[in-house]
């Protein structure tokens, strides 16, 4: 089991957002978290990567309990996170963004890893010296994915990778996600609002409603049951 969450309670300040949430990600899976706005989807990713603490419950990554770990410790364990909104280091160039993704990688290995990642995202090769803030939305999303892959994670978490992208770019980004999963075997936990697209690529799906688990099953079941899908978003 790559990630196991059991009875997780957490939130921001005094406001509780997740209530006794349990879910898991197995080795090599793509798992989607869907649900309406304010359901707590992004909060799950923030808790797993260590940005916010677990109040109760247990998070276990690759056999190790990660409650109380810092984001840096979790990156070292093999968890990387690409936050919502094409987040890149805008004042740094593309190459520097990739180097930052590999700060925990031994220096001798870093150059080779950057070359490998650039082979996956050839569009970034031509932009290596360009400020990341000047890239298009699609290129920024590719850079965000590339940065998260430099550390060769065991679990890659993506928060709405399609946000703000045109339909063509959304297809391209999801294509890359499937390619990365197939070629590297990395487990992927993805939060997404574009349900139709994410159901095409994931192996299993969880749906949250007001911080609680509302559905746990396969994408095929949801695709075939339009009524159920509608109910999850009401």
């Amino acid at each position: 089991m790559m990630l196991e969450i059991r009875k997780l309670d957490t939130g921001y300040g005094k406001k509780q957002v997740l209530f006794g949430l349990s879910m898991e990600v197995r080795n090599g899976e793509i798992v989607a978290i869907i649900g309406p706005n304010g359901a707590g989807k992004s909060t799950v990713l923030k808790a797993v990567c260590g940005l916010i603490p677990a109040w109760n419950g247990r998070m276990c990554f690759d056999g190790t309990t990660t409650n109380g770990s810092t984001p840096a410790q979790n990156v070292a364990r093999g968890i990387t996170f690409a936050p919502q909104g094409n987040r890149v280091f805008a004042g740094l160039n593309v190459m520097e963004n990739l180097q930052i993704g590999g700060f925990q990688v031994p220096r001798k290995e870093l150059r080779g890893r950057i070359a490998q990642v650039l082979d996956v995202f050839p569009v970034l090769k031509d932009r290596a010296k360009q400020d990341a803030g000047n890239l298009s939305g699609g290129e920024q999303q590719m850079l965000a994915l590339a940065r998260a892959l430099i550390a060769r994670p065991k679990l890659l978490m993506l928060d709405e990778p399609s946000l703000g992208l045109s339909p063509n770019l959304v297809r391209s980004v999801f294509g890359k996600i499937v390619e990365i999963n197939r070629d590297t075997g990395v487990s992927i936990l993805i939060v997404e609002q574009k349900v139709r697209e994410v159901l095409r690529v994931c192996n299993r799906v969880y749906s949250l409603k007001l911080g609680k688990l509302a559905y746990d099953g396969t994408p095929e079941e949801l695709r075939d049951d339009k009524g159920k899908l509608k109910e999850l978003f009401l």
């Binding site: 940005l51 810092t70 840096a72 936050p83 987040r87 805008a90 520097e96 180097q99 930052i100 550390a151």
Partner: protein, 292 residues
Amino acid sequence: MFSQLLVNALIAASIYLVVAAGISLAYSVTRFFHFAHAAVIACGAYSVFVLHVWVGLPLSISALIAAPLGGAVGLALELLIYRPLRRKAAGPLVLLLASIGAYVVLQNVMSLAFGDASRSIRPTSVQEGLPFLGARITCVQLISIAVALALLIILLTAFVRTRWGKMARAVMSDPELASVSGINVDGVILWVSFVASMLAATGGILQSLDVDMTPTMGMTALLAGVVAAVVGGIGRLPGVVLGAIFLALAQHLSTWIISTQWQDAIAFAILLAFLIFRPEGFMGKKVRETTV
């Protein structure tokens, strides 16, 4: 007369530059104006006074020890005040108020220890200035300019070329993204606080080589530094150079037509004009707020 004004502006710009670079760095990683920087400026000057006048060390050695001592004061402020407040989710306003409090405490401690009367580390004999660009300049003033330029080159190189510099720029750009990229953001804030405070202390030392020191000397230097940092563009070191030169030129060339006592008013008029018409400064970028 005109060339002397230009040289005077250059000397002032060198001190503004050192102080403004520190303010700009500290603000970029912590996102609040660190008012206690003013006390660190005075700490630098008084540390040299203690080491040189009381202990009897040579002036150059005293200055080399005093600058990291100022950095240590910045480290202590970060560890004892700002970091605990940030852990309690304090916002920029609370941190700003805390830094004003820290400034008042430190300034009063210096008043208690050294008195409010001015102190000096300058040689008692009057030195004739050397000819420089058609004007006169003293050796100490030349050293000020050289130190400021050397520090600027070291800083720019470190921030572009080194791993630590790139980590600092990442935290300046997006601290949360830096954190989930595996960077120890608290560690970066700590060492940037040290470097920024060392720059502030160096600004105080350079100033005290030219004029007498008082416990409140840091506030005037801080305000000039803030104006230079805002005018240049917060977080942009090349912009800070432009800001420092622009402010110093405006203040000194204005003495052609108005009295020198209006220099502070000119600085604040420039600050207000930039805040209203070009808040990003000469080289800053308009940024959009993002949240995870």
